[in-house]
Amino acid sequence: MFQFILRRMLWTIPVIFVVSALTFILMHSVPGSPFTRERALPAAIQKNLEAKYHLNDPLWKQYGDYMWGFVRLDFGPSIAYRSRTVNEILAQQWPVTMTLGAVAFVFAACIGIPLGILSAVKQNTLIDHSSMVVAMLGVSIPSIALGPFLIWIFALKLKWLPVATWGTPAHIILPALTLSTFYLSRFARITRASMLQVTREEYIVTARAKGVRESVVNLKHAFRNALIPVTTIAGPAFADILTGSLVVEQIFGIPGIGKYYVTSIGNRDYPVIMATTLIFALLIIFMNLLVDISYALLDPRIRYT
C-alpha cells in the first residue's frame, strides 16, 4: 500500500510537467498580450512593461523560470493586479472557495446519499419516485437559474437569509445549496442504483436468512459495498465543485478563487493562469489518489501491489 502511494506521488511529477507545458503553450498562443488596451500604449512603454515581467525572454526560459519558482512555492506577481502577488491572491481567496466547496460537498453527500439509500430500500414507492424526480430537477436546473431563484425566495420574499456576499455562516447556506444540487442528485441516483445491485447479492440474502435486522443489513452490509461507485465520483466531484464554484461565486458576490480561472485568461495574466491551472491539476490528482486508497479501505477484496 505504501509503495502504491509512493508510486502515485512520483507519477504526479511528469503529469504536472505535461499539464504545465500544455497550459503554457496554449496561453502564449492566444493573440493579445497582458498589455493590449483600448487606449494603445506607446511602443516604448509596452516594451518596458514586457521587460519588467520578463515577457521578452525566449519562451523556454520563461517556462523554466516559472516552474522553478513554482516548485519553491513562489507563484509570481499578478500582471493585472500590480499590488498583489499570486501567493497573496491564493492565500486570501482559496480558503473561501474551499469552505464553500466543502460545505456544498457535505450538503451533496449528506442529503444525496441518504436519499439514494431511502429510494433503494423503498423502491417503486412514492418516496422513491419523488426522490428521483427531485434528483432529475437537480441535475437539470443550472446554477445560474437556481441561484437567483433561491435569492428571490429566501432573501427577498421570506427574508430568512442574506442576499449575497460572504462573512457569516448564514451567508454560506444559499450558495452552498446552489452549488450542491448537481452532485446531490448524482449521489442520490448512483447510491440508489448501487444499493439496488448490492441488495440482490447472495450474501445479503444470507444475512437476512440469518435473521439480521433489516436496518443492519442495509446500513452495515449493503451500504459499505454500495459505496464504491459513489466514492468513484466523489473524488472528481469535490474538485469539480471547487471550480464549478465560479458561477456561484459570481452570482453571490463571494470573494473566492473561481473567477480567476476565467478572468485571468481575459487579462492574459500568465502567472495566475499557470498557478490556478496547476493547482487544479494537483487537486484532481490528489483526490483521485484518495479515492483509490478509500477503495482498499472499503472493500477488503481490493489490494494494491
Binding site: P31, N48, R84, Q93, I151, A155, P162, I251, F252
Partner: protein, 531 residues
C-alpha cells in the same frame, strides 16, 4: 494611528448621539488599482476621487473647472506656462505614520506628474499629458525627468510649461493625472503602497479597510481641508459583479444606490410604483460607434458607407433594445463636452432614412442589394453588444437587402484584430478623459493616433484638430471642431455614430445626491437623511 482612533471615536460618538451616516455602495468589481498613476477603469476612479484631492476639480453638473488644491491659476503667453497657486492647509493622512501631518506641497504635484510620465510606471494615460514640455520624450525613454516642464517654484506654487498654448489645460489639471502623490510612501512600499495599511491620502475619505474581492470601507478624513462640509461618515463598498444580484441587494435595502440596473429589469422598474420614482437618468460622456474599415471593399465606396449610415434606426434601438433613454448620435463628441455640435438639428451626419439608404446603395451599383458581397459586423463578446449588433444588422438586411455576418471575439483578441486587420464594421466606444473636444477629435481620430482603429487619414482633418489644439479663442475652436465633425461624420463617413450613453441609477429616497456626468460620484457632497 491617532487619526484612525479619532475617526473611530468620532463614529462612536456620532453613533451614540444618533447615527453614523453610512452609504452602502456596490462596486461592480474589485478595483484593479488604487494608484492614481495606474488606474484606468471607472471603479478605481470612483474610489480615487474620494481619497485624493486634485489640482482642480470639476463641477458635477456643468463641468466647469473649480479650485481644489489650487486656489487660482493664470497663463503667461510669453513662456507658455500655467502657474497654479496652492492651498497651504492640506495635509497627508495615513495610519502608519509615514507622512501623518506633513503638508501637501507643490513638490508633491511635481512628483506626481513626473511619476505618471516615468517610463517605469508605464501609465496608460501618460499620453494625455504629452502637451507638457518634455513629457513625451521622458515617457518614451529619450528624455530626462529634469527636462519635463513641471516645476515647484516654492512650497505652494507650481508652474507647468506646455508645448503650445492649450486653452483647455485647466480641464486636465482637474484630472487625477495631475494630483499630488506621496513620494515617501510610494518609494517605501513600492507596488504595495496602495494597500490599506500603507496608503497615504489627502482627500475627503481615507481607506479604512480593503479586503480584496470582498469589500472596501472609506472613512471620513477629519484632516480634510473642507471636512465641515462632508456629511457622510463612512462609505461601505461591496464588490458584487453580478448585476441581478446587486439589484436584489438594492431591493432588499442592503444597498442605498444601484448604478447598474440590469437591462432585463428596466421595463419592470419603469412600471413599478416605488422603483420608477427612484430611477434617475443622467447624461454620460460616452459615445457608441460602429467603425468602418474603408480599406475593405465594398466599404471603400463612400456611397455604400452612406447607405449603411442611413439605415440605422437609432430611436427604435434606444426604445426597444437599450431602454435607457439614451440619445441618438449623428456626430461624435457628446453634449456636455466643449466642441459638441447638435448634429441632429443641424443636419450633420446621416439620420435614419431608409429611402435615401436604398438610393445610395443603388447609386453604388447594388440596387436592392443584388450582387452586394457579405459584410462582417464584429463586436467584442458581450450580450449587450450582441443584441445591438443583431438589431442593427437585421435593420441593414431588411432595408438594403444585403447579407450581414455577425461575429464576436474576446476583448483582448478583438482589440488585436481591430488594430491589425479591422473587420469591415466593428464596434467601438469612447468615454471622456477630460471634457474637451481635443480628447474626442484629436486623441482619437488624428491620423497618428493609436485609438484610430478606422485608420482614418485626412490631412484636412489633422490640420483642423491640430489648429484647434493650439487655438485660444473658444469661438474659433468651436467652429474648427464643427468643421471637423462635418468632415469626418458627414463628408467622409469614417464611422457611424450610434448613441450617446446615459447613466441609469436607482437611489433610495433618503439619499441626497449629485450626479457626475464625467463619472465618479462626489460622495463628499452627498447626504443621508434619517430613515
Amino acid at each position: 494611528m491617532w487619526v484612525l482612533a479619532l475617526a473611530v471615536a468620532l463614529l462612536a460618538g456620532v453613533c451614540a448621539a444618533g447615527q453614523a451616516k453610512t452609504l452602502y455602495w456596490n462596486l461592480a468589481s474589485e478595483p484593479p488599482s488604487l494608484d492614481p498613476s495606474l488606474a484606468t477603469d471607472t471603479t478605481s476612479h470612483q474610489i480615487l476621487k474620494a481619497m485624493f484631492i486634485g489640482l482642480c476639480q470639476f463641477d458635477d453638473a456643468t463641468m466647469e473647472v473649480l479650485p481644489d488644491f489650487a486656489t487660482s491659476w493664470e497663463f503667461d503667453a510669453a513662456t507658455v506656462t500655467w502657474t497654479f497657486h496652492l492651498r497651504n492647509d492640506v495635509y497627508w493622512t495615513d495610519k502608519s505614520w509615514t507622512l501623518e501631518g506633513v503638508p501637501v506641497t507643490a513638490g508633491d504635484v511635481e512628483y506626481g506628474i513626473k511619476r505618471l510620465l516615468a517610463p517605469e510606471t508605464a501609465s496608460e494615460y501618460a499620453y494625455v499629458l504629452y502637451l507638457i514640455k518634455g513629457a513625451e520624450a521622458y515617457n518614451t525613454g529619450v528624455g530626462s525627468a529634469d527636462d519635463v516642464g513641471v516645476k515647484a517654484l516654492d512650497n505652494y506654487t507650481v508652474a507647468i510649461t506646455l508645448n503650445f498654448p492649450a486653452g483647455y489645460f485647466p480641464t486636465m489639471a482637474a484630472l487625477w493625472l495631475c494630483a499630488p502623490l506621496p513620494r515617501v510612501a510610494i518609494e517605501m512600499y513600492g507596488d504595495k503602497w496602495t494597500e490599506a495599511a500603507n496608503i497615504v491620502t489627502n482627500g475627503p475619505y481615507i481607506l479604512g479597510e480593503w479586503v480584496h474581492e470582498d469589500h472596501l470601507v472609506l472613512v471620513k478624513n477629519i484632516d480634510y481641508y473642507d471636512v465641515d462640509n462632508v456629511k457622510i461618515d463612512e462609505v461601505y463598498c461591496t464588490m458584487v459583479n453580478e448585476a441581478s444580484t446587486a439589484m436584489a441587494m438594492y431591493e432588499a435595502g442592503v444597498l442605498d444606490v444601484n448604478d447598474t440596473p440590469p437591462l432585463e429589469d428596466m421595463d419592470r422598474i419603469k412600471s413599478d410604483p416605488v422603483l420608477s420614482l427612484e430611477l434617475a437618468q443622467a447624461p454620460r460622456l460616452c459615445t457608441y460607434r460602429y467603425g468602418l474599415n474603408a480599406a475593405k471593399p465594398p466599404l471603400d465606396n463612400i456611397l455604400v458607407r452612406k447607405a449603411l449610415a442611413s439605415s440605422v434606426d437609432r430611436q427604435s434601438l434606444i426604445d426597444y433594445v437599450l431602454k435607457g433613454n439614451q440619445r441618438p448620435a449623428q456626430t461624435w463628441t457628446p453634449p456636455g463636452i466643449f466642441g459638441y455640435v447638435d448634429g441632429v438639428s443641424l443636419g450633420i451626419g446621416y439620420p435614419y432614412d431608409p429611402e435615401a439608404a436604398k438610393q445610395y446603395l443603388a447609386d453604388a451599383g447594388y440596387p436592392g442589394g443584388v450582387g452586394f458581397p457579405e459584410v462582417t459586423l464584429m463586436v467584442n463578446t458581450s450580450q449587450a453588444h450582441a443584441k445591438i449588433a443583431q438589431f442593427i444588422g437585421q435593420g441593414w438586411e431588411d432595408t438594403l437587402g444585403i447579407q450581414i455576418n455577425i461575429t464576436n471575439q474576446e476583448w483582448g483578441v478583438y482589440l488585436n484584430t481591430c488594430a491589425t486587420d479591422a473587420p469591415q464594421v466593428f464596434r467601438m466606444g469612447w468615454c471622456a478623459d477630460y471634457p474637451d473636444g481635443n480628447n474626442w477629435m484629436n486623441d482619437v481620430f488624428h491620423s497618428g493616433s493609436g485609438n484610430n482603429y478606422e485608420k482614418y487619414n485626412s490631412p484636412a482633418f489633422d490640420a483642423l484638430v491640430e489648429q484647434a489644439a493650439v487655438e485660444t479663442d473658444p469661438a474659433v475652436r468651436l467652429d474648427l471642431y464643427k468643421q471637423a465633425e462635418i468632415l469626418i461624420c458627414d463628408t467622409d463617413v469614417a464611422f457611424i455614430p450610434i448613441y450617446f450613453y446615459t447613466f441609469n441609477q436607482l437611489t433610495k429616497p433618503y439619499v441626497v445626491r449629485t450626479f457626475s456626468a464625467i463619472g465618479g460620484e462626489s460622495w463628499k457632497n452627498w447626504d443621508i437623511l434619517d430613515h
